[in-house]
Symmetry: C2
Subunit: 350 residues, 2 copies
Amino acid sequence: MTVGGTNGERRAPATLHDVAREAGVSLATASRSLNGSTRKVNEEYRQRVLAAAAKLDYSPNLSAQAVARGTSTTVALLVADIADPYFAQIAAGVVREADHEGLIVTMAATERDSERELELVRSLRGQRPRVMILAASRRADDPAATALAEELRAFEANGGRVAFIGATEAPHRSVALDNAAGAEALARALVQAGYRGFAALTGAEGLRTAEDRLGGFLAGLAASDLTIAPEHIVRPAFTRDGGYDGMRTLVELGIGEIDVVFAANDVMAVGAMSAIRDAGLVPGRDVAIAGFDDIPTARDVTPPLSTVRLPLEEVGRRALRLALDTIGPGDDLPVRAEVVLRASTPTRAR
Amino acid sequence: MTVGGTNGERRAPATLHDVAREAGVSLATASRSLNGSTRKVNEEYRQRVLAAAAKLDYSPNLSAQAVARGTSTTVALLVADIADPYFAQIAAGVVREADHEGLIVTMAATERDSERELELVRSLRGQRPRVMILAASRRADDPAATALAEELRAFEANGGRVAFIGATEAPHRSVALDNAAGAEALARALVQAGYRGFAALTGAEGLRTAEDRLGGFLAGLAASDLTIAPEHIVRPAFTRDGGYDGMRTLVELGIGEIDVVFAANDVMAVGAMSAIRDAGLVPGRDVAIAGFDDIPTARDVTPPLSTVRLPLEEVGRRALRLALDTIGPGDDLPVRAEVVLRASTPTRAR
DNA sequence: CTGTTAGCGCGTTCAC
DNA sequence: GTGAACGCGCTAACAG
């Protein structure tokens, strides 16, 4: 760790005023040359201003611009956990699209606490972001929900845009993920592959994403008159460790009748695979497992994880486009959730 | 995908002025009640202001505050790729610490392009962030380096703080990661475990982190009079796919004399493991493999990946503290890089 | 303790 | 085309 810092002379940043003076023009001319929308400035002056700006290391004060213009160039992104690959990929997409639009992304993490989420939205609102993207998981029974709704309503009433990812929250735009349909298709595919004994690892009760996926999966089973025994539906945390713990519970309960476990997301599935292995069993052979999301590591675990692919980066980009009304090609199509069968759910000879 | 938006009446956000009027007090009193540092406001007035603010859904305009105060509450974070678990974890740490300090994080991705990085720093500077944290990988031969240095110098001259993560860049503060020492310790541990035939997958030439790790690893081998044949040092991209491709190259070259591969980071190692497996070999048995970073999935691949643990979340937090001068307990200690031997490098009977 | 006023850095009418 | 002047929302002296 090195400590340094060239704080010899700490002169204030050059202002537009400084630049104008240096260039020998008026403030207005300087402003027009550097940012002005409809260019109508003498080329010679323009050059003088540009030179002065360069010489003074001028950098326009975005806050001041925002105040003067009455509109910022910021988009606020709310996720549950940045380190979770699901959110990290979404964030990457949002940042990329924002960069494309010349916008700046500010990021906050709810850490899966809806009180925190409310606080964050409240505080983020102070930035007057053009857009607020809420990717953090919604829950059905949320006590802070109405307060959040009120906060977002106020934000929108002031001209802000809101986009949700995943759950479709009443009056707001959202990139709907076809959680239910994807899970249903997965269930059908697994039945097709010969599986009959099912278990599920899903998030805490009320977590929308988890509920939708479980619901879809059950619907897919129901189509073949199959179901999951209540004791085989475990609801640990919606994380890697949750998956591990949940799978342990299942193993301890006895895995006799279970031949495949559906984890409501890939990080849980990955944790579950480790639990299976730690129990002395072989995932894919002794018990099959499937996840949801198709995070990058799904390919790299052993055996490779069957899952439902969501184009998460694209989802992030699309969320921003949706909020901004800058629709691109294909944006009207629903986000495809695609079943990807890999070796963690081998076809069963029956 | 749902489109909505309650843009019935788009009234401008309530201003402090509105609140003051509503509460029947002066602007100053309103300001003091809502944000003022040293509280010295009649409790009754205070309550009136708070009530008015609540009634009007008032949210202080951070941009205006920044302009008036001459200082923002923003920290800018630059990473190479948000979706990469290495950077995602660092980002999570920065965001958490920032939240702790009441600061807001804006995030940008260089996508490993130093031209882009320069552009981003330039543009981020417009936010007048309190701190700029550069986690994106440095390279030795960077043509944009001097321009970047100049930009950062200007930023610091204006009172901004800069913190690097990883490489120690000349006059700036930085959280030094003990890449060389960690890799050296790993090499020694592998020699100790009985390995003799080494190969390395490292990033593009000039990439500081990659060079440091490789250098350290070689130093560790040299201590036992061992080395790596030049043709066994492959330099693919510093990514998962780079690791995969690099390992394929190695396999095609013939893996006869190689009994362990050192990948310069875990995502590469994970890719390499898949390549090994796709070649019909078993990682850890036919060829051992070790990585660096200890990303979460290192535990969940098969066999679990030996690596050098870096407390990345903590690194992110510490970077911010370092820049802010809010040193915490243990912050004076160097970041420990700790060798973690797992089953991907079993002890070799010789 | 409260209110008035002058800025903060910039965009943008409005006359010239 | 250019410049002077006002306003954006807020903070911080400065007087009362």
